[in-house]
């Protein structure tokens, strides 16, 4: 049981990392570059800005900050679950 600890932790950690990176890819490359023209034309505008343009210039950056906060919270919770938390 003890032996399996690091491996389970690592698997869970990779799961978090890959899900966050998937979101990261969609908000930046997806919305901002690859599907920008389609989104500019079809998605609802943000204020007076076309959606794809806004994602590329503002939205993606906001999402990045949120992603990092989620990462820190999830990882700290995971560390605590596996007993890796360190005292202050």
């Amino acid at each position: 049981m003890k032996i399996d600890h690091p491996r389970a932790h690592r698997r869970a950690c990779l799961k978090i990392v890959f899900s966050l990176l998937a979101v990261w890819f969609v908000v930046s490359y997806g919305c901002g570059i690859l599907f920008r023209e389609w989104l500019d034309a079809h998605a609802p505008q943000v204020g007076n800005a076309p959606f794809g343009f806004w994602m590329a210039q503002q939205g993606a950056i906001i999402c990045f900050v949120i992603l990092l906060v989620i990462y820190a919270v999830l990882m700290n919770r995971l560390d605590a679950k596996h007993g890796y938390t360190e005292g202050k």
Partner: protein
């Protein structure tokens, strides 16, 4: 009180503050010199990293680039922030756990090879050198603006200042100075933007102004629509749609992101905090502080463009605002009266049959040499004359450097003098903080990785720090030289190359070092060499030799080629490692160990 007095007061106060902090927290040991002793709080480190990260290029040129290219500039906005996501989830927690002072240290130990360490040192030096050149240029631009001197003298003055407080203070001195510098930068960047947003759109938040309506012209129209109309009327591409192909856009953004995650001077910043959990927290703060500036940059760019066109286009030169002549004097703006009507006309490539909008022949303005007669220097409307021949293939008469957008913005909007003074102080803070951080990595790479670990293992602590200080002096001298003679026209471009090189060397090598347990010495070294040689060759060919855009590989510009270099690095590394022996057991154990987040202790250099 004149503008000059105010500038001096603001800059004087900020300098006194930096130097005071640097002297108070001066480094005593190598450990403090390299990683500030490993006890910086996540919040303070976040601020310092943000200041370190936001260079003169970000501060001065980025908004200008956005103003000029609209949507296309998103590659910088996303690239330089999105890289932090990669950096945080894939790199720094593991490297911090590994617990060494520098990035080549990790490469050397993980790939159990002095050669790997040597290649990494070479890459680190090269990347930092490319990057620091842009910074020195930035310092020069600010000082030339400030004192009305040439950019050359500006670069030299800036270099001297950086040497005195960074070369001597070490990481500990730099970290706390950068905290102060971030505060100056953030205020300097956002306050003018808020004023301008209120003037043009009636919104207090610039970000709301960008998506809001333009109200300054009487009736209210959507701001971006106004901007698109201005652009198309003058013969430029629409602001919200770009000219770059999606492939190129994708590659440049990817190269910038991966480059960010592989930049040695950013990675070492996270070695200054206590443990892995503090690293994660610190990364959140860092990106938040960076986002404050990056979310403002596109708004400044957009506002500046509207202001510039409204103020200058079709205005008689004699009635043009005072700052036009100031920028002419420093060679950052030029007007050639092609049609002889005495008015300034500003047009894009769409207005000429040749598809060009060059004002004169050649890339930058040149002026008649000393001893020229009065009528060779000053034209009949009082404008500064150029030595370049006019480019008569198009009607555009106004040339300006990208870099002036941020600097001219408060002038254009007629903001109070203290705002302009604050902006000057902010520009200098941006250039100094990044230059200092880079200088530190350069000097540690030389003193620690090259001297101590490769050439002279018996070096004492004290000698190592002396070597570091000496190395920073030499590095700075070289950087000053290239700051005066930049290999590329705009600051943002020079810096983009550093990212291409980081993306093709460190990012893949570190990533495989952390996640691919079976990656061995042979694979890593050959991958790193292939990646960086390919990228370096491609950039050199198109920047310094006679490569032309139609020879681009898949239409990818030199800025984005780092992404291809990275793929080559991965490919070669996995191929070579498949045919060579696995790494030794203790290295494989080490890789297992860096995935366990606890027990990182203090960063050390032993």
């Amino acid at each position: 009180m004149t503008q000059d007095h105010l500038n001096f007061i603001f800059i004087g106060i900020s300098f006194a503050l930096y130097i005071g902090i640097a002297v108070k927290s001066r480094a005593g040991s190598t450990k403090e010199y390299y990683t500030a002793g490993g006890g910086v709080s996540p919040f303070a480190n976040g601020m310092a990293t943000a200041a370190d990260w936001m260079s003169a290029a970000t501060f001065i040129s980025m908004a200008g680039t956005v103003a000029l290219s609209g949507y296309d500039a998103s590659r910088f906005l996303m690239g330089w922030t999105g890289g932090f996501v990669l950096l945080t989830v894939l790199m720094v927690p593991y490297l911090r756990k590994f617990n060494k002072a520098t990035v080549p240290d990790f490469v050397g130990d993980r790939y159990y090879s002095k050669l790997a360490r040597g290649v990494a040192v070479g890459c680190a030096i090269f990347i930092c050198m490319t990057y620091i050149m842009g910074q020195m240029r930035g310092v020069g631009v600010v000082f030339s603006q400030l004192f009305g001197i040439s950019i050359t003298s500006g670069v030299i003055i800036g270099g001297t200042i950086v040497f005195f407080y960074a070369g001597l203070g070490g990481m500990k001195g730099i970290t706390y100075t950068q905290v102060a510098q971030y505060c100056v930068m953030a205020f300097a960047y956002t306050i003018p933007a808020i004023f301008i947003a209120m003037a043009l759109t009636g919104n207090v938040l610039p970000q709301m102004g960008l998506i809001g309506s333009y109200t300054a012209g009487g009736e209210s129209v959507p701001f971006l629509e106004k901007l698109n109309n201005i652009n198309t009327d003058l013969g430029f591409a629409e602001y919200t749609s770009g000219k770059l192909s999606p492939v190129n856009m994708f590659c440049i953004t990817a190269a910038l992101m991966c480059g960010t995650a592989g930049l040695p001077h950013v990675i070492v910043r996270f070695f200054t905090v206590k443990n892995v959990s503090a690293v994660r927290k610190s990364a959140c703060w860092t990106l938040l502080f960076i986002a404050v500036i990056y979310l403002t940059a596109p708004t400044i760019g957009a506002f500046a463009r509207v202001n510039l066109v409204e103020k200058l286009h079709d205005t008689p030169y004699v009635e043009a605002p005072y700052w036009v002549q100031e920028f002419e004097a420093t060679g950052q703006m030029a007007w050639v009266d092609k049609n002889g009507d005495g008015k300034i006309q500003y047009y894009g490539p769409g207005k000429s049959d040749a598809g060009t909008n060059g004002v004169f022949q050649g890339k930058t303005p040149t002026y008649p040499t000393f001893g020229a007669t009065e009528d060779q220097l000053i034209g009949k409307h009082g404008e500064r004359l150029l030595a370049n021949k006019a480019d008569d293939s198009n009607p555009n008469e106004l040339w300006f450097g990208n870099d002036i957008m941020v600097m001219a913005n408060p002038h254009m909007a007629g903001l109070p003098m203290w705002v302009i003074a604050l902006l000057m102080a902010g520009c200098i803070a941006a250039a100094l903080s990044t230059a200092a951080g880079l200088l530190l990595v350069l000097s540690t790479s030389i003193s620690h990785d090259l001297m101590k670990k490769i050439l002279k293992p018996d070096l004492s602590d004290r000698e190592e720090v002396s070597y570091a200080r000496f190395a920073s002096f030499v590095a700075l001298a070289v950087a000053v030289y290239f700051g005066i003679n930049p290999p590329s026209q705009f600051i943002a471009k020079t810096v983009a190359f550093a990212f291409g090189l980081a993306a093709s060397s460190f990012f893949p090598t570190l990533l495989m070092g952390i996640f691919a347990k079976r990656m061995n010495r042979e694979g890593a070294i050959s991958g790193m060499l292939c990646g960086i040689l390919f990228t370096f060759g491609y950039i050199t060919y198109f920047q310094f030799l006679d490569g032309t855009p139609d020879q681009y590989f898949l239409g990818i510009t030199p800025e984005g080629i780092g992404f291809v270099g990275m793929l080559i690095n991965f490919g070669v590394a996995f191929l070579v490692s498949a045919f060579t022996p696995d790494p030794p057991q203790e290295v494989q154990d080490m890789v297992e160990n860096i995935h366990i987040p606890s027990g990182s202790g203090e960063a050390s250099h032993h």
